[in-house]
């Protein structure tokens, strides 16, 4: 029994020490390398959830990188922002997707529930400090413990791959996000057969304080580093009704989000077939919207005094010229 206990303990201790050393050295090495370094051309980045992930095709927008990720909460956006900005001094402007649904209390689960933790922790644990761990630990200690061994292994695997491949730039394996080429087109079917909303109204109308706190921290961090920050809302379908918390969304900007500027593209007009569903653009919609957004940046949107008015006018112009364009196209064909 004694022999068994000693051997088993030695086996486990040696294992833990080896893993600790490999993780520590691996993280040191990749942090020194350009693991989080984006192209020098990148001047604008956008962070957010699936809305911005599907809406901004960064190959169509000059000097722009989309680092949004489906189901991402502001807790992780904050960690990502800190890392990306510290490694990419060339970035002067940050857009953060600010939508109605991310503010809902029910979306707290995106931070710590069992579905999201195994996806987020492997990517973010090297960037987390004691308070971040503490937050997740208090909400879902079992989930954190369960996904931690896997996170360490994933991290080691990624570091190895990165070091061995001798990459110079940003590590796409880091899964920090990117543009999502969404193919689906189920807008018509959703309009004809609206799904039954199962979330309890009570929870739905509550606001996620954790998310707001971390969004505020992200904004403050950007401002502290002299990086311009804009809240932005991607296009939504006119039939999308899940915006009951709109007054709260507006009010929070003033009360907690340092009066940040809000660029609202909610009413950008697109056809049904250009939406993947009521709140996500598919690749066709993303193409139209990204070209439009690129044009606005070229037209110096970010230095206008009344940005929202400018955006609305440009949207209006587009909706007037669109029927004309269609008529011309029809004539030609």
């Amino acid at each position: 029994m004694k022999q068994f206990t000693i051997k088993l303990m030695s086996f486990l201790v040696l294992f833990l020490i080896a893993i600790g050393i490999i993780t520590f050295l691996g993280n040191k090495l990749v942090n020194k390398a350009n693991y989080y370094k984006l192209s020098d051309r990148t001047k604008f980045v956008i962070f957010g959830n699936s809305h911005s992930e599907c809406a901004f095709n960064d190959s169509l927008i000059r000097n722009f990188t989309n680092l949004s990720n489906s189901g991402e909460s502001y807790f992780y956006t904050y960690l990502k922002t800190k890392k990306i900005l510290s490694r990419n001094r060339q970035i002067r402007t940050v857009f953060i997707e600010y939508t109605n649904n991310i503010l809902e209390k029910s979306k707290d689960g995106w931070i710590y529930d069992d579905t999201y933790l195994p996806i987020r922790i492997p990517t973010y644990f090297p960037l987390m400090d004691y308070s971040d761990f503490k937050l997740i630990w208090t909400k879902n200690n079992k989930g954190l413990l369960n996904c931690f061994p896997k996170s360490i292994m994933k991290n080691i695997g990624r570091n190895f791959k990165y070091i061995l491949s001798n990459q110079i730039g940003f590590n796409k394996e880091a899964r920090f996000g990117g543009y999502l080429y969404l193919v689906r087109d189920k807008t018509d079917s959703l309009i004809n057969n609206p799904p039954i909303i199962s979330i309890k109204e009570k929870t739905k109308n509550e606001i996620s304080e954790i998310n707001i706190k971390y969004l505020a921290k992200t904004i403050a961090f950007c401002k502290l580093n002299n990086v311009k920050v804009f809240l932005i809302r991607s296009p939504l379908h006119s039939k999308f009704t899940d915006i009951e918390n709109e007054p709260k969304l507006r009010e929070l900007i003033k009360s907690q989000l340092l009066n940040s500027e809000f660029l609202d593209f909610k009413d950008f007009k697109l056809q049904n077939y250009e939406f993947g569903d009521l709140d996500h653009l598919n690749y066709k919609g993303a193409r139209v919207f990204s070209n439009f957004f690129n044009k606005l940046l070229d037209l110096n949107l970010l230095n206008k005094n009344n940005k929202q008015e400018f955006i609305n006018n440009e949207i209006l112009k587009l909706s007037i010229s669109e029927p004309l364009n269609n008529m011309v196209k029809k004539k030609i064909s």
Binding site: M1, F4, F11, T115, N146, P149, K150, M153
Partner: protein
């Protein structure tokens, strides 16, 4: 509490330490501890079903004594049928009531009538099929005078509820397990190390192979309308390895865990995918259930003694019942029927005991004939698994129709192909290790035993690392639902 969960990773060492240190080798205390921890283990799922487990245990304990003490055959038979009736009654209500009610309603509606039999909103108590069969074998063995009843309730309860086998077997026999429970157990170093090794291999099978194959099998089976025949073949293959590694992985963990406590459980799998015919497959797949059906159903029905027709009838009966044991769905019944059909040629031509030994024993490679037989047997098995996995018979038939269409020759394509390639590579590596270790109790039983110790540790570390690396969300074992 799942074997592949953090809870179990804490639970097992705690029970192990208490078992070997706190009880100081006292058999009474060891059995009380095993019973308490088994009940705790079971209560972690749903404490309410504990009452059912305790009732079932009490029933078989009491009827076992009554059968033994009965003065005449009539009284013996009364107590036997009381136990069998109540045990199967519980199983029927919890597992099959809704199925029969729905089938009855469907049948009546075909005749133009309407049934008022409603469905019950109940969940299936985990492990009920397994502990019910434990209890049944015990009372039947007493009735047949194979064993004497156990008078000590704690010892008998440990036999029924021993936590490694409580929820998904192996289905133990009183003749095998009870004597071990009654005998003083002392710590055995090599047995414990072997147990740990078997647990490690079981976890690898479950977490690395089964859970990852499950991801693709689910994607393909759940959206089978959208995929080509070739992709559906791949889906069926993924499921074949999922179910094998899931269930045999569970059995390995159960056997390894029991060995840590000095108890040997019945072997449940013996490399079934290397079988050369279906009869051999069924001697190697879920051995404890196959032998249970053989001893308590096939032989009492007359076995093979009444001529060829009796043999055919009895074979169909045990395969159909075996299918039905897996779940209340016609897909399982068809799966059982298919296997009965597969085995018919060897029953009719009396070749079912041709391949008793392990394939290519003492050799590196099989002969071409053996390889051909293995591939044919495996293909038949994979085909039958389609029914096992499909949601219903219509789904299974449309799945098979698509396989046998021109789209069979299109390159497979489904979401996550890149990861699937990694999993296919790992599965191939796994098959190789299984082939090398096929003469052992489990694939890595002797792998690396004679190596230089640090090298052997590297092998263990590699397995642990791969488990952590490929670990996803905790997935339940498939056989928990049965």
């Amino acid at each position: 509490m799942l074997f592949n969960s953090l809870n179990f990773a804490i639970f097992l060492p705690v029970v192990f330490i208490l078992y070997w240190f706190a009880t100081k080798g006292n058999l009474r205390l060891q059995n009380i501890l095993l019973l308490a921890s088994s009940y705790f283990f079971y209560a972690c799922w749903d404490w309410r079903f504990m009452l059912l487990l305790i009732f079932s245990t009490l029933l078989d304990y009491y009827t076992g004594i009554k059968i033994y003490e009965a003065k005449n055959q009539r009284t013996k038979l009364f107590w036997l049928w009381l136990s069998v009736g109540i045990n199967l009654g519980f199983l029927g209500v919890f597992k099959y009531y809704n199925f029969f009610a729905a089938s009855f309603a469907d049948g009546l509606s075909l005749l133009g009538f309407k049934s008022n039999l409603g469905s019950l909103q109940i969940i299936l108590p985990v492990g009920i099929s397994f502990y019910t069969f434990h209890g049944l074998s015990y009372v039947i063995d007493i009735y047949k005078n194979r064993i004497k009843p156990e008078k000590n309730f704690v010892d008998y309860s440990v036999f029924v509820s021993f936590f490694p086998l409580l929820v998904a077997g192996p289905i133990e026999r009183a003749t095998h397990l009870l004597p071990q429970i009654l005998k003083k157990r002392e710590f055995n170093y090599s047995k414990a190390v072997d147990g740990l090794r078997q647990i490690l291999w079981g976890l690898f099978k479950k977490i690395v192979i089964a859970d990852n194959c499950a991801e693709f099998a689910n994607t393909i089976f759940n959206n089978s309308d959208h995929y080509s025949g070739s992709t559906l073949v791949l889906g069926a293959l993924f499921f074949s390895f999922q179910i094998y590694c899931d269930f045999s992985g569970y059995s390995d963990i159960a056997l390894g865990t029991a060995r840590l406590f000095g108890i040997d459980l019945l072997r449940n799998f013996a490399f079934p995918y290397f079988s050369r015919d279906i009869a051999e497959f069924w001697r190697r797949w879920h051995i404890s259930l196959s032998s249970w059906f053989k001893d308590y159903l096939y032989i009492p029905l007359g076995g093979s003694k009444g001529g060829i027709w009796m043999k055919i009838r009895n074979t169909f009966i045990i395969f159909l019942v075996s299918g039905f044991w897996h779940g209340a769905n016609w897909t399982f019944v068809v799966w059982g029927f298919l296997n009965a059909l597969y085995i018919m040629p060897s029953i009719i031509f009396n070749t079912n005991r041709n391949n008793l030994d392990i394939v290519a024993k003492g050799k590196y490679l099989p002969t071409l004939k053996e390889l051909f037989s293995i591939v044919i047997t495996f293909s038949l098995t994979v085909f039958a698994w389609i029914f096992f996995r499909a949601n219903n018979l219509t789904h299974a038939i449309s799945y098979i129709n698509e396989i046998f269409s021109s789209s069979l020759f299109i390159k497979p394509n489904f979401p996550g192909m890149a990861k699937a390639v990694t999993i296919i590579f790992l599965t191939a590596l796994f098959i190789l290790v299984e082939w090398i270790g096929r003469e052992q109790q489990y694939a890595i039983a002797s792998l690396g035993i004679k190596w230089y110790p640090p090298l052997r540790w590297v092998m263990y570390y590699s397995i642990i690392l791969s488990i952590f690396y490929f670990m996803g969300k905790e997935q339940e074992f498939i056989y928990f639902q049965f």
